[in-house]
């Protein structure tokens, strides 16, 4: 009997020839997507499916919607989508699902649409971890600063969650600088230099993305200040700074898991006949595969494990497309 189900599963959970899954993103040249797409592909290969990487190179919602619409023209089996904004994608996602194309979201969500799943990092968990680590390193009554990128939700969340976590749990932590640097290295350099001037007692700085971290670490080194730098995400340059001890630690989402589970979510939604959950899906007519939220987790990058996080090394011999 056991063997029988396995065979059955193997027969059903396999792609038809030509069955294609698309991963659609904004700012498609951003390196963040690279390991995500690798995970997406690995999962797809396991089930004999084809994949396409699509989206718009621009930071432009209309262009992303246009590229999503064009994906639909090709009638893929499903789309793993990073919606640049949640609400504008409600109508396109619903239209896709109504026409039989499955959609799951990752890293950013469109919760009011009919998408079947949402895979992401838990930014709150990242912020909490960062906060605890800062306290561990500099004590629970120190001055700290943050750089931010207003308008991008995951970056916003990483910053606001850390601030409110401190307010709740470590009221003696004092926020002395809060500057918008919008992922711009030179802007981050300028802002950090000024913060360092205004706050000689600054002990720690939390940066929600890597572009700003590169500028901030340059400013800290130039000022020869003794400030603990914590960042989210990673680039080769900040990785080197971690190895050199200039940046204390980076929290990096598990992009591979995000892509892999993203594929699984779309694929399972497409092949939902293997599910028969205990609910009203048959009567109400929704897809039995419903995953409101799936955490892909994050890695902690320190001096010790940094060698494993060189994206260029990882990508050697792999096809980025």
């Amino acid at each position: 009997l056991l063997q029988g189900t396995a065979v059955q599963a193997q027969d059903t959970l396999r792609c038809e020839p030509g069955e294609t899954y698309i991963m659609n993103v904004m700012v498609s040249s951003h390196p963040y997507w690279v390991p995500v797409y690798q995970g997406f592909k690995q999962a797809a290969e396991a089930f004999g499916c084809e994949t396409v990487f699509s989206g718009t190179p621009d930071y432009d919602i209309t262009k992303q919607i246009a590229s999503f619409d064009q994906d639909l023209v090709k009638q893929p089996a499903g789309i793993l989508l990073h919606p640049m904004q949640s609400d504008p994608f409600i109508e396109p996602i619903n239209r896709a699902i109504d026409s039989g194309i499955q959609v799951a979201t990752f890293a950013a969500d469109s919760p009011m649409s009919k998408r079947t799943a949402y895979i992401t990092s838990d930014n709150l968990a990242e912020a909490k971890f960062a906060a605890e680590e800062i306290v561990k390193q500099v004590g629970d009554s120190a001055e700290y600063a943050v750089l931010e990128n207003p308008g991008q939700s995951n970056h916003d969340l990483r910053v606001t969650a850390l601030i409110s976590y401190f307010e709740q749990h470590y009221p003696n932590m004092k926020l002395v600088g809060r500057q918008a640097t919008n992922q711009d290295t030179t802007a981050a350099y300028r802002a950090t230099a000024a913060i360092l001037q205004a706050n000689p007692n600054l002990k720690a700085i939390w940066i929600p993305e890597a572009g700003s971290a590169e500028g901030a670490v340059t400013a800290v080194l130039e000022a020869k200040a003794d400030v603990l730098i914590m960042q989210a995400d990673i680039t080769p340059a900040t990785l080197e700074h971690i190895k050199a001890g200039n940046i204390h630690m980076a929290l990096n989402p598990n992009q591979g898991m995000q892509g892999f589970m993203g594929f699984m979510a779309v694929f399972l939604a497409k092949h939902s006949e293997v599910f028969d959950p205990f609910n009203d899906y048959k009567v109400s007519g929704f897809n039995p595969v419903q995953i409101p939220y799936l955490d892909n987790g994050f890695s902690v990058i320190t001096k010790e494990n940094a060698d494993s996080f060189d994206l260029n090394v990882y990508m050697e011999g792999r096809d980025p497309t």
């Binding site: 498609s28 040249s29 396409v52 990487f53 699509s54 989206g55 718009t56 190179p57 621009d58 930071y59 432009d60 919602i61 209309t62 262009k63 919607i65 246009a66 590229s67 619409d69 064009q70 639909l72 023209v73 090709k74 904004q85 949640s86 609400d87 504008p88 409600i90 109508e91 009011m112 207003p150 308008g151 991008q152 939700s153 916003d156 980025p320 497309t321």
Partner: protein, 331 residues
Amino acid sequence: MEQTLANNANDGKATPGRIARLFRMREAGLIAIILVLCVVMTFASPYFLTWVNIRAMVMAFAVEGIVVVGMTILLISGGIDLSVGSVTALAMVIGGWLFLNGVDPWLASLIAIAACTGVGAIMGFFVTRVGLHHFIVSLAVMVIARGICLLATGGRPLGLFALPESFKFIGQGSVGPIPVVIIIFLVVVVIADFLLRRSTLFRRVFYTGSNERAAAYSGIRTGKVIFLTTTLCSALAGVAGVIYMARFGSAQPTFGLGMELNVIAAAVIGGASLKGGSGTIFGAILGCVLLSLVSSSLALMDVSVYWQDIIRGSILLTAVTVDHYLNKKRK
């Protein structure tokens, strides 16, 4: 040597036929380029010539096209506006914020457009009264308007899912197979194109942009003209913002970053001169079509993202070069 009037009136060559005129049009080169691209794409991709794809391509520039109309008129008058992206976002944020605070969405939209018009008027004031250059004034306003958007929303997008269907209709509805957005766009374009070619008021825009002093000597209040075109451009950005709001059901404070370059590029590809005095709405819209066509085609063909920018830039450069030669030759 001198021709008399009688001679001329009987001279058939003086008024060329309609078809000949079409070929002589400034836009003929651009149309040719677009047609060539379309033919290539039709063979390259089976999806290209589908209604859904065409609809997606037009939808991609329809709302921005309204801003392009305003920008073209402003460029003709000799100005430029870098703030259009921020002002579009401002309209969305103001409209959305008012709606969330209980104002009727139609009224909220009107107020938002009025506010954007006000922003344009302020820019017009600094340009015509104070005497600053459009570039620097609109750059400052671009930063300020973005700041207001961030301040009003705390940097977070406003969810406007609750907008009534009747309002969302202008952004999401269709009349038959044609989306309302495209209809609005076409109406704006046709009216603007007609006015710019035919109305005495808008001809003054050309005069002012071509030679401000000559226009002033002819009794044209050039300050007023520039004030109006500056205001009109912001007002149309406001209209676009409201339509975006209805279309997306949300208001993002960072919306429209970098829109200005896109919009100016479309107008310039379509023949508008940055020195003022020339340009057409029709050409500018063809510029939009070309840009959107290229972007869509690259996506449709699954061209690697890392190649897309290179190809896009090269096509842009090729297109303006070809267009330039075609026009030069015709002269």
